[in-house]
């Protein structure tokens, strides 16, 4: 009986601890000593471990930037590979602190799923890939075609909408993972494959003969991909949001990984505020004032991260496009730090 009583007491204490430990994500991370980051795991260029098991990618570097800002150590991140099925639950239940897994920002995810998207770290659109041999010039010719797609994604919904809106018939073949979908496409189960254009570029390299395939120009939908956090912790929301803005600001002012130490001496007020020699902008976030310096020093600015992972310095060779800074005709625009 005594044993039972202790168990009951233990359970009561545990649930008490649980209720006390809501919010305060930042403190939890600091106590834990490591940031838990939900990443893709199979999408080269955005989030995947390389042959040596070291994680690389645009999304991965974003998590490293957050870790650098908190711990002054970009390596204090534990990457949790998530499928499209378990990604939201993983974030909702606190298994990961932030979800940076090429996830599309939509209104329902922002509301009923209990998430908050902090911004857009990659502007993308959905596109189709088909075999060159089919001689299809436009997606509008795909009436009655069979399309392979990954289930449970916005892609799947957009695909259905696109065909319905154009009164075209469609045979969807859905698979649980992107890997299975692209394999099925490669073995000619489908005529076309659809996902975000960047994803297609990345997945294309898994095809046996990438040269035999072509990405159609049609834009199926807007796909703003961004990091997401749980609702209810504004401080943490702000931190994740401003890590992205700091990286954009650094690019805007030409601060790079290489020259950031030099730039510390600069007299430009914007730079001084960014790098923490003026004002207490970092402390206001719950971080240190050199938070942005740490990010740039250890990870780099947005442009560097982009080029290294998906741009010209990578096998994907994606153009900047919409992801160029606003000042260069793109959409990436950071509010001022002041």
């Amino acid at each position: 009986m005594a044993r039972v009583m202790t168990r009951i007491a233990l359970a009561a204490v545990l649930s008490a601890i649980a209720s006390a430990a809501t919010a305060q994500t930042l403190n939890t991370i600091k106590t834990r000593g490591v940031l838990n980051c939900g990443a893709n795991g199979t999408l080269a260029g955005f989030g995947a471990p390389d042959a040596q098991g070291r994680w690389t990618g645009l999304d991965v570097d974003f998590c490293r930037a957050i870790a650098a800002a908190i711990f002054n150590d970009a390596n204090k991140v534990k990457f949790v590979p998530l499928s499209s099925k378990d990604r939201f639950t993983a974030l909702q239940t606190g298994e990961v602190d932030v979800l940076v897994r090429n996830t599309t920002w939509t209104s329902s995810r922002d509301t009923t799923l209990g998430l908050n998207f902090t911004g857009v770290n990659f502007y993308d659109h959905q596109a189709f890939m088909v075999r060159k041999a089919l001689q299809v010039k436009s997606a509008l010719e795909l009436n009655d075609a069979a399309i392979c797609v990954q289930q449970g994604t916005t892609t799947e919904l957009n695909l259905a909408d696109y065909f319905r809106a154009r009164k075209m018939k469609l045979k969807t073949v859905t698979f649980a993972s992107a890997d299975e979908a692209i394999k099925a496409y490669d073995s000619k189960r489908c005529d076309g494959y659809t996902t975000d254009a960047s994803g297609i570029r990345s997945e294309m390299r898994k095809l046996v003969n990438p040269d035999e395939h072509v990405i159609l120009d049609d834009v199926v939908s807007k796909e703003p991909l961004g990091p997401a956090v749980r609702q209810g912790d504004d401080q943490w929301f702000d931190i994740v949001k401003w890590v992205h803005f700091a990286m954009l600001t650094a690019e805007e002012f030409g601060v790079t990984k290489a020259n950031v130490d030099e730039q510390l001496k600069s007299d430009i007020p914007d730079l001084k505020r960014l790098l923490g020699s003026e004002g207490k902008h970092g402390e206001a976030l719950g971080l240190t004032n050199d938070w942005a310096y740490r990010i740039i020093k250890q990870v780099g600015n947005y442009g560097e991260v982009f080029e290294r992972n998906v741009g010209q310095g990578s096998p994907l060779k994606l153009p900047r496009g919409y992801n160029a800074l606003w000042s260069k005709g793109g959409l990436q625009y950071a509010p001022p730090i002041r």
């Binding site: 009561a12 545990l14 799923l113 209990g114 009655d144 909408d161 859905t174 073995s187």
Partner: protein, 394 residues
């Protein structure tokens, strides 16, 4: 026991088994209560804190995705609830067909294992050993990714099936019958024929029990079921049209489309379950004592009728319960469809719907409830059957 109570020595209630039993049970209930309470309160707290929607409000919301095999009307403007039924029906379809074919194959192999033909018995044995010791999931992947990929990939190279069908990597395409005016009469005739056949069977059986006179039941029943609808159709001038599949720009168009995912799943389930059914059948046949077979032989019955009239009817009593559990296993195993992309309940509901709504608790619970219901209903029927066939000792 009451009489003994008076002479019972006084012991501390702590050592009274009844008191202890009650205490243990109270403790267990309390423990489970605390665990369940803890789990539920955690879930509620987690859900409200994370502001996740809960409840079945999504049931009537537009689903927005397509499903490539639907037995009932469905499009991407249908609701999530509709998608659930589509998935459930697809599960039931593959399970029902799987059960039929697995039973046929399983009985054949089980009987073959006991065949007096050495070669056949050995081959059946090898089949059972090999299939039973390889995971089903692997077999499904093999059928889907290795075997079906050997089918022709180009539209023009499709195998042509006599009667207007096609077979290629995109599936099996068969002519689709369309019933025109007057086929309603044939349908009515069919039903009348079936009713007549049932009545006939009952009467023949009664006559057989009373007089011992046998009649060619099977042939007459078949005639009763088949002839009236055919006659009705002939009278109506055969109002059946076929929509023949034809090669289109990308795919075969029209007709009935049987997905390769469906074929792979059905193949895998049938071949896997048949190995287990074969073992069940073998055990059942073994359970019928040898004397029964010998008695039948000494009466001059050949092997076939001995099996059919003497051994199998007795073996069925032993076979049916484990056979039912194999049927349930097949139904549950059909959930592996998710690995090869066949749109069954698990793939549609715990796959797409769960992802689109994010409501894991509701979706997973409902899916489990469906399988649980199937299991419980089957075991209920099983128990009823058991009671009916149980040996009545006279």
């Amino acid at each position: 026991m009451d009489a003994a109570d008076s002479t019972k020595p006084k012991v501390s209630p702590l050592y009274d088994p009844k008191v202890r039993g009650i205490a243990y049970q109270v403790a267990l209930c309390a423990l489970i209560g605390v665990l369940v309470y803890g789990a539920i309160s955690n879930a509620i707290e987690n859900l409200t804190r994370a502001k996740i929607a809960s409840g079945f409000g999504f049931w009537t919301t537009t689903a927005g995705f397509d499903i490539n095999q639907t037995l009932i009307e469905y499009s991407n403007i249908s609701t999530y609830g509709r998608a659930f039924w589509v998935g459930l029906l697809n599960t039931l379809l593959v399970a029902a067909l799987g059960i039929v074919f697995a039973t046929i194959l399983g009985f054949a192999i089980g009987i073959a294992r006991l065949s007096r033909n050495w070669l056949l018995a050995r081959m059946a044995g090898v089949y059972v050993e090999v299939i039973r010791n390889i995971p089903l999931l692997l077999q499904l992947l093999f059928w889907y990714n290795a075997v079906l990929k050997a089918l022709p990939e180009q539209l023009q190279e499709s195998f042509i099936i006599p009667g207007g069908g096609f077979l290629n990597r995109r599936g099996l395409f068969l002519p689709q019958p369309v019933f025109g005016n007057g086929s309603g009469i044939a349908f009515v005739a069919l039903i009348l024929g079936i009713v007549a056949a049932i009545i006939f069977r009952i009467r023949i059986k009664r006559r057989h029990e009373q007089t011992g006179v046998r009649a060619p039941v099977f042939a007459i029943v078949l005639a009763l079921v088949v002839v009236p609808p055919l006659v009705a159709l002939a009278l109506a001038g055969f109002p059946i049209d076929f929509i023949y599949p034809y090669p289109g720009r990308f795919n075969i168009q029209g007709g009935i489309e049987i997905l390769p995912e469906f074929m792979a799943l059905l193949f895998g389930l049938v071949i896997y379950t048949a190995a287990f059914i074969a073992e069940v059948v073998r055990a059942g046949l073994f359970a019928v004592s040898r004397g029964q077979t010998e008695a039948a032989y000494s009466l001059g019955l050949p092997t076939g009728p001995t099996l059919r009239l003497v051994v199998i009817p007795q073996a069925m009593r032993v076979i049916i319960p484990p056979l039912t559990s194999q049927y349930l296993n097949l139904t549950k195993n059909s959930s592996l469809a998710v690995a090869i992309g066949y749109p069954d309940l698990v793939q549609i509901f715990t796959g797409t719907v769960l992802n689109q709504t994010g409501q894991a608790v509701e979706v997973v619970t409902l899916t489990m409830a469906v399988y649980l219901t199937i299991s419980l209903v089957t075991s209920l029927l099983m128990n009823l059957y058991d009671r009916r066939v149980a040996l009545v000792e006279r």
